[in-house]
């Protein structure tokens, strides 16, 4: 399984870089840092079935860091949620997929995101709603580290354990960078996992690029004590391409033709 996941993640990274280039869409490095998390969720054990993308009782995945939408789009298309052709038209006039997800834009996109700090409160509502309907659906919210600076995240972080929402899981893509600086320096983020623990979550740390470990973590059962789960995934911004890793210019930079080719080679795709 892990070889497949690795190969899938490499393919997705290259696709994302091509999409960023073609559409001149920014936030490339933010998407690259969470590709392994997306791959593990959508291709790992117990991954959701695209044929059930409209099933009212389905599990829900919210990409709360909406600026990494190209990562989600590439993953969903590869998994069969919608045609690959949608990726080719990405961000063009009138296309299905915009730079950040619009409401109901595509199967598998559960929420329009882009403004940070919205995904977790809505995820709580989804989890509460599922529980009220006596469904066992799970809700996963993927957030950025910069996003954890929003007050609404911590309002939600206090509410979910009070409601004992064990079917709710947060993944923080902790790549240590935000748009214009190092996130743990801009705000006192650390110790991030302790913050989640202190708020009443079953919180753990993980190497967000150890795709097998991540996939294993994602298939774990809900906490028997009823706590929601938070994973602080240590990641590298721009992961997978040597000249993009940890270079925050790639938060906004668009790769040139040459850079796309070079990245493709590094990823074993070109």
């Amino acid at each position: 399984m892990s070889t497949d996941l690795l190969a899938t993640a490499r393919e997705l990274r290259y696709r994302i870089i091509q999409m960023s280039h073609a559409a001149e869409a920014p936030h490339l490095a933010s998407a690259l840092s969470c590709v392994d998390l997306l791959t593990a969720y959508f291709f790992g054990k117990n991954s959701p079935d695209p044929a059930k993308a409209k099933d009212p009782g389905r599990d829900r995945f919210i990409l709360s860091k909406g600026h990494a939408a190209i990562g989600l789009y590439a993953t969903l298309a590869k998994r069969g949620y919608f045609p690959l052709g949608w990726l080719e038209r990405f961000a063009q006039e009138g296309a299905e997929l915009a730079e950040q997800p619009a409401p109901g834009c595509a199967p598998g996109v559960e929420l329009a995101t882009g403004s940070l700090g919205h995904g977790l409160p809505v995820g709580i509502g989804l989890a509460l709603g599922a529980r009220l309907q006596k469904k066992s659906a799970k809700v996963v919210v993927l957030m950025s580290d910069g996003e954890c600076q929003e007050g609404s995240v911590w309002e939600a972080a206090m509410f979910a354990p009070a409601q004992r929402l064990s079917h709710l899981t947060v993944w923080v893509d902790y790549n240590k960078w935000q748009a214009t600086g190092r996130s743990p320096e801009v705000m006192a983020m650390d110790p991030l996992v302790d913050k989640w623990k202190a708020f009443g979550w079953r919180a753990r740390e993980i190497d967000g690029h150890d795709i097998q470990a991540v996939a294993q973590a994602m298939s774990e059962s809900p906490d028997p004590e009823g706590r929601p789960t938070a994973w602080v995934a240590h990641t590298v911004k721009g992961k997978g391409v040597s000249f993009m890793e940890n270079d925050n210019n790639w938060h906004y930079r668009i790769p040139t033709v040459e850079e796309v080719a070079k990245a493709g080679k590094e990823l074993g795709q070109a």
Binding site: S115, I124, G125, L128, L132, S152, E155, A156, Q163
Partner: protein
């Protein structure tokens, strides 16, 4: 009005299992019956309004009809972006009920006043906005919003407001509600200022000015065609609200009038571009802003003389 809201939402929720009530840590004992008769469908979301609105959005996506209830300024100003993005952009049928609207909580200070929120929410595409003038209007608006596919903001008062309409109301959303007819001016109220407006019409009558009285609880939708008639039939239309003269009823009517240069003039009565810094109660605040019956009457007479 808030007791009436609690009673009616409890009645409705007993019949409709989709109704879920979210409270921002207010209404102590107010919802005891709701909690008892609708187990699992009442959530005290704490002092965390942004989260409450997001949670409501998630519940609405799951097919529920969430109703968020807390003090008007906290529900709206604090959670403005959640209302815009989670409810507006996604067009989810969540009902927001802001209690203590306008100057209801004048005595608690400027933090508790809401004289701008109707205008702010009216700008959100697809959002219904209403401020009922009495319990019968609230009943009608709640019924509309529980059957609507749009998000709705309902600004209510506190407790003890008089019932003005003699009988239950049946009107479509956005329609002005006529309480009495006169030949000279049309007084139009939005929200719980309604009894002052009714009284102001009586004062004016003593001075030989006959006034029609309308209540216009809805700011969105806004029944355009009705206003043609009202402006044609009166030589002056006066909007009255516990809200800024900008953006609320007066603002909506001014916008409506902007491409009708021949219509009668509009006098907008509301709060000026000023926070209330005076220690006072609702009655005192209305007096201070000339929004009590006497002040309204005087403004109308001054305008007609000018």
């Amino acid at each position: 009005m808030r007791n009436y809201f609690a009673k009616r939402i409890t009645d409705w929720a007993q019949k409709d299992e989709k109704i879920v009530l979210l409270s921002g840590d207010i209404g102590n004992r107010l919802f005891d019956k709701f909690k008892e008769s609708c187990p699992g469908r009442f959530y005290n979301c704490g002092v965390a309004e942004a989260n409450m609105v997001g949670v409501a959005a998630g519940l609405a996506i799951q097919g529920f009809r969430p109703v968020c209830y807390t003090i008007a300024p906290f529900l709206t100003y604090r959670a403005m972006e959640q209302i815009r993005v989670d409810l507006g952009y996604h067009h989810l049928p969540v009902i927001l009920v802001g209690t203590g609207g306008g100057l209801s909580y004048a005595s608690l200070g400027g933090t508790h006043h809401s004289c701008e929120e109707l205008g702010m929410l009216r700008l959100i595409p697809g959002m219904n906005v209403a401020a009922p003038g009495d319990a019968r209007e609230l009943e009608m608006i709640l019924s509309h919003s529980l059957h609507s596919s749009s998000p709705t903001y309902i600004r209510i008062g506190k407790k003890g407001e008089p019932v003005i309409h003699p009988t239950p109301l049946k009107a479509s959303p956005g329609q002005p509600l006529c309480l009495s007819t006169g030949k000279d001016v049309a007084l139009v109220a939005c929200g719980t200022i309604l009894p002052e407006v009714v009284l102001a019409a009586e004062h004016l009558k003593r001075d030989g000015i006959t006034a029609s009285v309308f209540s216009q609880p809805y700011l969105k939708p806004f029944a355009d065609q009705e206003w043609n008639k009202i402006f044609q039939e009166h030589r002056l239309v006066v909007s009255v609200e516990e809200h800024s003269r900008l953006g609320g009823l007066g603002g909506a009517l001014a916008e409506w009038k902007s491409n009708k240069p021949k219509s009668s003039p509009l006098l907008r009565l509301g709060t000026p571009d000023e926070f209330l810094h005076r220690t006072t109660d609702q009655e005192g605040a209305r007096k201070y802003f000339h929004l009590d019956a006497e002040g309204i009457g005087k403004s109308v007479k001054d305008f007609l003389r000018s």
